[in-house]
Amino acid sequence: MSTTTGTGLIRRTRAGRSHRPPPEAPEARPGPAEDGAGEPGRPARRRRARPPSLTRRHRHLGLRMRITITFALGAAVLSGALATITYYSVRSSVLSQQTNSLLHETTASAYLLKPALTAGTLQYARWLQDTQSSDASESLLYHHHRWYATAVAFSPPSPIPPALQQVVTHGGDAAQTIVVNGTPTYAVGVWIAPVRSAYFELFPLTTVLRTLHVLLASLLLSALVVTLAGALLGSWAASRALRPLHETAKAALDIAGGRLDTRLETDEYSDLAVLTSSFNRMADRLQERIEREISFTSDVNHELRSPLTTLAASLAVLEGRRDELPERSRRALDLLSAEVRRFRRLVDDLLEISRLDAGLSDLSMTEVPLGDLVRRSVAATSRPVPIHLGPGAEDGRVLVDKRRFERIVANLLDNAQHYAGGATDVVVSVDGPFARISVEDEGPGIPPEERERIFDRFSRGSSGRRRGLGEGTGLGLAIAAEHTRVLGGRIWVEANGSRGARFVVELPLHRDGAL
């Protein structure tokens, strides 16, 4: 049976076998005494196996951002170049066209004027008015060294620049862009040869210029739009291109988290077939290896149980007949009993841990009042530790597997006994949506640099730890941490005021109907 998670991932689950985490336990959040993606109490091998995350580079621009910016810049440059080329070619074409047509118009007007000039009549102003091109705002006539214009608003010198005047009076037709009263104007001049006169017309350029401005604005706007589109395209292309990488990273994280049968789909990204198939092969080998290890451990542990059963039963018989034994035999029997007990605890712990590893342990969750749970769990350990309940702790309700909770408490109390001279207090408190159960001691305490490692398997901390009689197996805290994780809680150790350690187990409170 295979299920697809998200896109591109196939998870094959074998019937009846799912590795942790179990479905009912909510995701454990990181505790205060550890880094980002790890969880307290997880063995070191898991931290080393954490693959790099693509989204974690905040100091440099991410790959996706860089691709997006490249696309945007490319689009900007291209559209900018296009806009510029378009604008300038349109502009020069418009302007040159304009030159021709206005010249044409002025020539036509001059032609109309010619007969009147030849005839020598003097009503220049009126003629100028009549013959002026419709587009011209003004026309001027230079005739017999005198200026005539339709409007008398021109004060000498005439608005016609000397250079233009010079060219036209020497017999050529010419034009020039000038500024008249702040308005850009096109001045066109033609030479009327028969009467040796220069005829000028002034065409305001506002319309043309406005049109060109509109053109420029719309070209710039479209360049902007294209740039944005480029950025969006870049972003989309980047995410599509990076998706297989994200999925590979996610698959790797899933595998590191225990879902050993996670695989990548191979057909979707044919270019990346090499990546996906080698990833899948690696995952296959890994899963094989881990499962072999787990079943080996489990088989070994299982095999240990049979001889232990015989040992326990036989010892019970001997202990029942202790009085019948001579002194030396009795001492030998005591040693034997103590060691078998210790051995039995070790095997129990190993078995518990390997069951947790294989995800084979079932959970039987019930909702119970906190105060009762803690009292009974402490009582089951037969250790007379005072219990203090804070406000709301007595009736707060938690959803737990009672046996596992009892194991957590038992392991913490055992640990305190073995390394800190015994637990001094058990404190139960409620803080917002969480319940906290603290086991406090007044022993040597745990130095800050060891507060994470101490939950590792077989770690016993540094100096200050003595091997006493009947000391622990080295697995107690690791087991407590695993059980806590499975119950959806957190566990950590902090200083107990000025001396000793405080181990804290935090569990979410259970509200009716809420999970």
């Binding site: 149980r305 015989t310 039963a313 019970a316 039995r344 084979l360 342990s361 039987s364 909702e367 009892e406």
Partner: protein
């Protein structure tokens, strides 16, 4: 008179040591090294002196422990304690559904096993001064006599199933939690395994309900426990 216990275990040293420790507790022990031997011994004993309790290891050669228990249950309601190697769901529930009354996990302290045996052999009847017969629809329960009838026909319940039914009947209409049932029927404390109750309720339903999937007598009250409809 000492209670007779049949010990079914293939590992001979475990068998020998268990025999020693259980005999110290005052029980009379007979051994069987396989499922077949166990069925033989049981059948033979029925004729002369039946066993009071069986301790059966699930890991047996030939017919495994589950099959042996199922076979035994076809004709007998003798109390059975199962010895399992692991406490994961599959083994324990399978054993309980096959018909076991309780279980211990290897390695166990002999005292644990002795306590479980004592609890099962308890002769405590809840009947002194109680009603002779309780009737619930087509179900008739007679605690003193140890008899249960459905629609007039006698129903064969194991000791544990019977005690469970009596407990529910004595509190008919009231909800009993798993913890309460574990304590009263199995003498377990707070940390008892709730699955014992769940599987036994299932087994009870197959015997006393007309349609076990739609129970009308033994009802589940979600989140709280079980009750017998009045």
């Amino acid at each position: 008179m000492a209670s007779r216990i049949l010990l079914v275990e293939d590992d001979e040293r475990i068998r020998a040591s268990m025999r020693l420790s259980l005999e110290d507790e005052g029980y009379e022990i007979e051994e069987a090294a396989s499922g077949e031997e166990a069925l033989d011994a049981h059948a033979r004993a029925l004729v002369s002196e039946p066993f009071d309790l069986l301790v059966v290891d699930i890991m047996l050669p030939g017919i495994d422990g589950f099959a042996s228990v199922r076979e035994l249950r076809r004709t007998s309601t003798v109390p059975i304690i199962m010895v399992t190697a692991r406490t994961d769901t599959h083994d324990v529930v399978a054993g309980l559904e096959a018909g076991a009354d309780d279980y211990v996990t290897k390695p166990f302290e002999p005292k644990e096993l002795a306590a479980r045996i004592r609890a099962l052999l308890r002769r405590a009847r809840s009947g002194e001064g109680g009603p002779v017969s309780l009737v619930f629809g087509d179900l008739e329960i007679m605690p003193e006599a140890g008899v249960v009838r459905r629609g007039g026909e006698e129903v064969h319940l194991t000791r544990t199933e019977f005690l469970l039914l009596c407990e529910l009947a004595a509190n008919s209409g009231k909800v009993l939690s798993r913890e309460q049932l574990l304590e009263r029927v199995w003498s377990y404390d707070y940390f008892g395994d709730g699955r014992l109750v769940d599987v036994h309720v299932r087994r009870l339903r197959t015997k006393v309900e007309h349609d076990p999937s739609e129970p009308r007598h033994v009802l589940t009250v979600r989140g709280l426990g079980y009750k017998l409809a009045p």
